[in-house]
Symmetry: C2
Subunit: 789 residues, 2 copies
């Protein structure tokens, strides 16, 4: 079904039908394209809000990225029809829209490009998509080699959907100077002030060809005719009808006729994207087609850009697929999040801080900047906004318009990771402004204000108010009247305080507040145990009417993952409680695809909880395998020395040969969820959301580096506490830390009781590497004692 190619860091599939939704995504500084293996595409660029240059044939709603995207014939796509002019046979690559039974098909997802290889009608075809580093331009290369011993006459027709651009003005035509189809539109507007706002918009879509086409068609209805997209009328003609689109649906299609001998190769290059005007398109043409090597040079630039995502760790474990994921795909996804902020202008504060946390292992100056940016949007009350605005024209949208109570929690978690990696204590005293005050205060005070604000937002029993929702939880009716409380937020507050106290102690700061905060942690944990412990696990909360939920006598939603996870992190749960919780999680939440966020999934509205319960069972927050929550569970298991269980949770996030078809996903990214409701709707369980925006990846990476490999930075030292899965006999790791390189070999010993560490040939008295010298390479042997394996 699919294969890993370890040499080229690619993952391939051979079946466009069984793996219909398999996909790869590329991004650059200004755009993202998510290509489905069949040729369907979802592409967005920033101007500053996410915009499209290729649409479906109807007016699409503008919305956030939708899970489990479905495709259909006229969905936006990038297709190449190929016709044998001798026999009249027609097929298309990648696969849509003709859906011919191809002799062979291969879709290969790489870090910096996507490649399709198709053999059909004695033609060997390779199609490659890449991006430049900054421009919003898809770079397509097509190569066709004939293996027929006859001279062949073939026609190649790129068909790039432009779709319904605008009800106000849309058209398309071939431009001889630009050598391509230029589709034009006006973004519709009604208010005069929007004219000025829209003036910078890229309302044109271009498809430029390096070579001059034989013919073209810019009119979608004319192209398709009565034949349908699978057999368009225009392809029955000798030449594409050279028809403009005049307030009709545009399309960008070209025709290239070739006479091709045995083993002869024809090659094409295309550029597809949005532009403001013809001048800009001419510049793009010159930039990528101007010199012989312009196209390849742009690709090299893009490779160099992505090379920044190499991350601070490389592992060589007995699990080759896992190595591949940790060494290549995971840091790539972490980098995507942290470098371009999910291509949004108002990332949720919670997401923004965790995405920044992941960047601590790749490009920590980004983490620092994000912490400062986020805190500069804090109000003097200590409250964090629901989203961080990254552009002067940005506004809070969608879910960010619903107030959530947890955004302050994440600051210390992100800060801690940053300090671990950098030991940049200067950040603690960096003076940062507020959103609503002339005052500027050091970061320490910002954090204290945040935590004080969280502590104040509790009821008389010391439980945290949930208001209209906290993390993972569109629980908009638990506490909207101002009384409902959240068990998760109660222990999350405790954990955030705990992390802050640790930071303060390591860096010897904030000494007056620490006792106060330590006392608060104890109170929070006690309150958690007093009010939320349900016998075998913790409840999820208590609503405005005083009704507890996420408890054993609930019919649906009787157990939630997050309160258990965070009670382990905060220290609320004792060993006995932990064991009971873990058993309950195994019994109720574990599936072959990972750990579900709650179970049983809600199947009907529950006004005690609200919107969550109206989501489809097993989808998203309503009981899916929500990987972000699962990654936290793994982290808490590692913290509590349940390494094998933790590894199992992480490993299940990656599709394998066995379950890739069920999940409809390749192991090139972790999706935000897999369908849950495993015991309720097993027939659809395990399906990938296909969404690669997820806070999962930062924690996943942190789990691997700090926990599994046990190479955790702390106040300038490296602490070595490996937590290898039992079935791994060895591990080799290369870790970058504070400018030094650590090459660490792990072996397991049946002889030794406790773990022994040898640094550059010298046995080390402790598991802490201090006085790390920049530029130096440390060779470390870790012999793990049998009490630890």
């Amino acid at each position: 079904m699919f294969q890993h190619d370890f040499v080229n860091q690619r993952v391939d599939i051979r079946d466009p039908i069984g793996m219909s939704k398999a996909s790869g995504f590329l991004w650059n500084k200004n755009m993202m394209i998510h290509m489905n293996c069949r040729g369907y595409a979802v592409a967005q660029f920033m101007q500053p809000e996410p915009s499209k240059y290729s649409h479906a044939l109807n007016m699409e709603a503008k919305t956030f990225m939708q899970p489990e995207q479905s495709y259909f014939a006229h969905h936006s796509g990038r297709f190449f029809y190929i016709k044998c002019l001798d026999s009249g046979e027609l097929f298309s690559i990648p696969y849509e829209p003709v859906r011919a039974k191809l002799d062979s098909f291969n879709f290969s997802v790489g870090k910096d490009n996507l490649i399709w290889r198709v053999n059909h009608l004695e033609l060997e075809i390779q199609l490659t998509l890449s991006l430049p580093k900054n421009d919003v331009t898809e770079m397509w290369e097509l190569s066709v080699i004939s293996h027929s011993n006859k001279t062949r006459n073939i026609a190649i027709y790129p068909y790039f959907s432009v779709g319904y651009m605008s009800w106000m003005n849309q058209s398309a035509a071939f431009d001889t100077n630009l050598n391509g189809i230029i589709a034009s539109s006006i973004t519709p507007y009604q208010k005069v002030e929007d004219y000025f706002k829209n003036q910078h918009l890229k309302d044109k879509t271009f498809l430029l060809s390096k070579h001059q086409p034989t013919s073209w068609c810019a009119n979608q209805p004319t192209f398709e005719g009565e034949g349908g997209l699978h057999n368009p009328d225009a392809l029955q003609l000798k030449q594409l009808p050279q028809r403009d689109a005049l307030y009709q649906t545009p399309v960008a299609s070209l025709q290239f006729n070739h006479q091709i001998n045995c083993q002869e190769q024809v090659q094409h290059q295309f550029l597809f994207g949005p532009a403001k005007d013809d001048t800009e398109i001419a510049q793009i043409k010159e930039k990528y087609f101007g010199q012989q090597d312009s196209f390849n040079k742009a690709h090299l630039d893009y490779q160099n850009y992505l090379a920044q995502s190499h991350g601070s760790i490389q592992i060589n474990s007995p699990d080759k697929a896992f190595n591949e994921f940790i060494n290549h795909w995971l840091p790539r996804q972490v980098f995507y999040h942290g470098d371009v902020n999910r291509l949004s202008t108002d990332p949720q504060t919670r997401n923004y801080l965790q995405d920044a946390m992941g960047m601590a292992f790749i490009s920590p100056e980004k983490t620092k900047q994000a912490l400062i940016t986020a805190l500069s949007q804090q109000t003097i009350s200590g409250a964090m906004p629901d989203g961080i605005l990254l552009h002067e024209q940005a506004e809070l949208k969608y879910i960010n318009l619903v107030p959530h109570s947890d955004h302050g929690i994440w600051l210390t978690l992100c800060l801690n990771c940053y300090l671990n990696e950098t030991n940049d204590a200067d950040i603690l005293t960096t003076v940062i402004p507020f959103a609503d005050s002339a005052q500027c205060l050091p970061l320490i005070d910002h954090i204290n204000l945040t935590l004080d604000h969280l502590l104040n937002a509790r009821n008389e029993l010391g439980l945290s108010y949930i208001e209209q929702g906290d993390w993972c939880d569109p629980m908009n009716m638990v506490g909207y009247k101002g009384k409902g409380v959240s068990a998760w937020l109660t222990v999350a507050t405790a954990y955030s305080l705990k992390v802050w106290c640790d930071i303060c102690q390591h860096h010897q700061i904030n000494q007056t507040k620490i006792p106060e905060y330590l006392a608060a942690i104890t109170k929070l944990n006690t309150a958690m145990n007093t009010h939320f412990w349900d016998g075998k696990w913790y409840a999820r909360g208590i609503n405005d009417e005083g009704i507890a939920f996420g408890v054993s006598n609930d019919e649906e939603g009787k157990i939630y993952l997050n309160p258990q996870t965070w009670a382990m992190l905060s220290g609320a749960a004792d060993q006995k409680q932990q064991q009971a919780m873990i058993t309950a999680i195994d019994d109720n939440l574990a599936t072959p695809f990972g750990i579900m966020m709650l179970a049983p999934s809600y199947t009907k509205m529950n006004e005690n909880i609200g919107r969550l319960t109206q989501k489809f069972p097993g989808v998203s927050e309503n009981g899916s395998v929500y990987n972000h929550a699962a990654a936290f569970y793994a982290y808490s298991l590692y913290q509590n020395n349940q390494s094998d269980k933790a590894f199992d949770v992480l490993k299940k996030m990656l599709p394998s040969q066995d379950d890739a078809t069920e999940r409809q996903q390749l192991p090139t990214f972790v999706p935000n969820y897999y369908r849950g409701a495993y015991y309720q709707l097993p027939e659809v369980a395990g399906r990938s959301s296909q969404l690669f925006n997820t806070g999962t990846v930062a924690w996943y990476y942190r789990c691997i580096i700090e926990e599994l490999c046990g190479l955790k930075g702390q106040a300038g030292t490296l602490i070595i506490t490996p937590k290898l899965p039992a079935h791994w006999a060895t591990l080799t790791v290369r870790r970058e830390y504070l400018g030094a390189t650590f090459v660490v070999d792990y072996t397991k010993s049946d002889q030794a009781n406790s773990t022994k560490i040898v640094i550059d040939g010298q046995p080390s008295p402790s598991n802490i590497v201090s006085n790390i010298a920049k530029g130096q390479t440390y060779h470390i042997k870790v012999i793990i004692g049998n009490s630890e394996n």
Copy 2:
């Protein structure tokens, strides 16, 4: 291509390819369905805002009705696949999605139903769509008769698209009790307050069958498979796979297997629509399938509802197609507008009043109510709002958020027509509240306030400010800085005053204001001539920077229709000017498809004018044959005794055998525009917008009744001033007026100089019928003298 069927008041086409966009629409009190001849559908219902129960496969934008709707494979549709189980042959009706070459095809648009008749594979198929009077339920009937002399095995598969319902929750399954597919969803929302707002929403879509199906499929991707909609995988199987949709795209498809002998007929009935819950669906099932005749009874109720649209006139002219249109289709369209207010909750004030004006000829109590409703939303300042809110939850949307300066103009025009038809002088003293004041004032005072407000909104030269736009004109940059003026609005104000002065004089009211208003008319007309006369026509306006536009030295938009029309109505234009204007209109604006609103169409942004100039050339306000404006031109031509020219303008609004294919429309409704830019983009000129919401129809009907037939009510009398086109030798008309019936025979005389009128055998001394007795039938002969013909 198409034919009129005068007996059944239907218009037919025989070609689903050449007439791809030909369509018919049905509506009832709560819904509208616009069926394309190929089986594609646009249907909306009110809850209270327009909503859909059948979607495309992606998330569609919520918007106003779009012109020139384009269709594509997965557009919402109502299809029936038919498969010969003996031979395996497959086709579909109406035509999509298989697009088989049918032996015969007939699409027949009637007043109260749409019928397709298809013959193929020796099967005679009739498919009928009707609606009930109130419920949001499509009523489908399918009849299949075999003409094969063998016993046949066939399968019939209704395929009703449900499409992408919601990202929050969507599913579908067959319900044995209800005997149909029930698709369920939750309208997505994020804010807790929307939960309460959404509680009444009809989030389910049902397809109920009268007969029990052989099998079913509720899962769109499963149904379609790799075959595509034109050849779905599910139809390759012996039985439709009984698959639910579980957070997948739902579909409503059923299978019925039949063994059918020669001349045997099988019949099916289906109900399709939205519902809140299963209880409501069960009620619908009982209501329409409960008794043998329930379905037919509901259709009769619907026929009775539509019978109200018969209108107050029937004509019998030498032009049979024209008679058909005036007697059946035009009043149907007028009734649609006036009875259900375009199925909107916030009709533009301008539209609402004109739609109500048309109802004066059909159901004048609706006109009265609309006048009172509109005036009760007036502010005490005299300003009329941009839209009239018809529901307590309604809000101003879309274009109604842009302030327009002309809404007050239309009150007197509507009122005048209402008084002409009813002589209900009581309305004048009816006391009506205001939107923003405790005061209530008689209608007379409301009108005076309106006109005073219009008169105050003028500059120091007496020209009316345009602000962000007036009628037909998204000219959002002419006067947004507060200085720009509108020539049209200047004479429209004059004309509105003139109409009011006439009303006041006929009804002997408001005597103190009349001299003031008469003086104002003179001043307005003088100002028009002083500042806007451009030598051969009037300019359209002067912008904030003092630049006149719609003038002969403009390159684009050099002449606009509306200022000319209304200068004729207001009395600003003298005979010489009128002649010059009419010549200029003939030279610049006349096309085979009617009169364009402006020419040449703008091809690029012109900041003197604004948004209008960014619309596509020839589309909508940017130089289309905008029928509403053209109808006014016809009205003004009649007022100025240019009857032949006026008739030509009206007649060109109706597609004929000759040009129906170019227009892509049947003569069953007047669209709001045909593509203009006739001299710039001739290849696409003439195409119908396919939108049947238009102020055109009220004025068209008024032109026919008051002007062409010359049977105009006035203060309780009927004034007879016929304006027949020269090529009509005779005309017979039946006119209802003040409860009496007038049967009028028109002939033309070469002998008589002036027109003679004979009432019930008695020569009449004047052209005025007074003392009209309710219930009486008057037989009138009109012999038109040669000076008038």
